[in-house]
């Protein structure tokens, strides 16, 4: 019988997948050779 994931496990899986997705998009954009701006918000 297939064992289903607990709500807690689903939540953790979701967080992990979002992190992976965000990092993938980050590296993809950086790979496209956009010059990274290190200018922070003018607040400092």
């Amino acid at each position: 019988m297939r064992k289903s994931l607990t709500p807690q496990q689903v939540k953790l899986l979701r967080v992990a997948l979002i992190t992976i997705l965000q990092l993938s998009v980050y590296f993809f954009i950086r790979m496209l050779a956009y010059t990274p701006q290190t200018i922070l918000y003018q607040g400092f």
Partner: protein, 404 residues
């Protein structure tokens, strides 16, 4: 030390590794040494280190004095005035140059993070005077002021909040699965915002010029600039806050949230309740509230006047604080005026329509949609004054206004 540099990555790995090795005292030491190292990576010249030392030590002495006297007296007010004056000179505010002469702002001193340190320091002194802060020690105070998490642009955490977490560092369980995953989600979303999306958006107008061959002054490029800059600024700043909030989660600190969908605000006051929230609440507590209370304690029937002028003052300071050029002066005037007008409209609407009708009006979707669009465009418009340095245009404008 840029947050996307290998230097910072090695720095963070070292901090986390060292953090696992000991208890509360050890972790506090690691945090303090790491913060000092981070600070010195920006200000490795003797004059800057000496100036920072003077600022930090004098603030601590004043906080101890404030706690002893138990009220905000003339000495404390004088210290705050001098500190703000020093801030304006150190940050080379053009207004200082115009009023006092260019020699005042032609120095080479750069104090990175001083804007935030000043606000934290004023908060510690005032709260010590009001006995809200009762347990101030130098090490926690120093780490609070220069913490590498919030030195450059992070949320303005309150000392009481910091201290509570600082005192519990020994109990902090590192690398618990859920907390760690949540932290990495925040950190990755921050890096995506600051170092991928925001530079991409900032480069859109230039890319459009390259692709279409249109001049940079063409209406369509100007329009692209108009909309892209506020979006860039959001991803840049909110992203930075996400990174430090995530890093804080790994180190046992829950930093306050600083953004809540700001471009969905339905008026300028609402905007400042959603954008750089910790700055707005700081200004509410240390500028607006004291001014308002002082006003209505003397003229109790002038509540609306003091509310409106209080909003103007607080948000004028907000705009000015963000930068030293004359563009920020205009930004301050616009922020101040828009918030004051919003408060005035609210006051008059309640007076003439009654509170219930006013509430109904605010619940009307069409009205709120129009209001949100207008607010968004107003914010985008006001940011045009700081997107590029328009000081020369502003001086020209005021020269034309001056009597011939």
């Amino acid at each position: 030390m840029s947050l996307d540099s290998s230097h910072f990555a090695i720095f963070m790995v070292c901090v986390l590794a060292l953090y696992t090795l000991g208890g509360a005292q050890w972790r506090k030491t690691v945090l303090l040494v790491a913060s000092l190292y981070f600070l010195v990576s920006y200000i490795a010249i003797f004059e800057a280190i000496a100036a920072f030392t003077a600022v930090i030590v004098s603030g601590y002495v004043m906080a101890l004095y404030a706690r002893r006297v138990g009220r905000v007296n003339a000495v404390i007010i004088l210290y705050i005035v001098v500190a703000v004056g020093a801030f304006l000179i150190i940050k080379k505010y053009q207004v200082v140059g115009i009023l006092l002469g260019p020699a005042w702002i032609s120095h080479g001193l750069v104090l990175v993070g001083y804007s935030y340190i000043l606000f934290r320091q004023i908060h510690v002194i005032v709260d010590s005077a009001q006995q809200v802060i009762v347990d101030l020690d130098f090490i926690s105070y120093l780490t609070y002021l220069i913490s590498f998490l919030t030195l450059l642009a992070g949320p303005i955490q309150r000392y009481q909040n910091f201290r509570k977490q600082w005192d519990r560092l020994g109990e902090w369980q590192m690398f618990e699965l859920e907390k760690t995953l949540q932290a990495f989600m925040r950190i990755s979303s921050g890096y995506l915002g600051v170092y991928a999306i925001s530079p991409m958006i900032l480069s859109l107008p230039a890319a459009a010029v390259d692709l279409t061959g249109l001049p940079a002054t063409a209406p369509s490029i100007t329009l692209l600039n108009f909309y892209s800059y506020p979006i860039y600024l959001f991803f840049n700043f909110a992203g930075y806050c996400s990174i430090v909030i995530g890093l804080g989660m790994l180190l046992g600190f829950t930093l306050p949230e600083n953004f809540n969908k700001p471009y969905f605000s339905d008026d300028p006051i609402d905007f400042w309740n959603r954008w750089h929230i910790t700055l707005s609440t700081w200004l509410r507590d240390y500028v607006f509230t004291p001014y308002y209370k002082m006003g209505i304690s003397r003229f109790s029937n002038q509540a609306l006047f003091f509310a409106v002028t209080g909003y103007f003052l607080a948000f004028f300071i907000t705009g000015m604080w963000h930068g030293s050029t004359l563009g920020y002066l205009v930004l301050g005037l616009l922020y101040g005026a828009s918030n004051a007008i919003t408060k005035l409209i609210e006051g008059f609407s309640i007076r003439f329509l009654g509170r219930n009708k006013y509430k109904k009006l605010r619940a009307n979707r069409a009205v709120m949609f129009v209001s949100t669009v207008v607010t968004l465009h107003f914010v985008a418009f006001s940011l045009q004054f700081v997107q590029v340095d328009r000081s020369a245009d502003i001086i020209n404008f005021f020269n034309q206004l001056a009597p011939k």
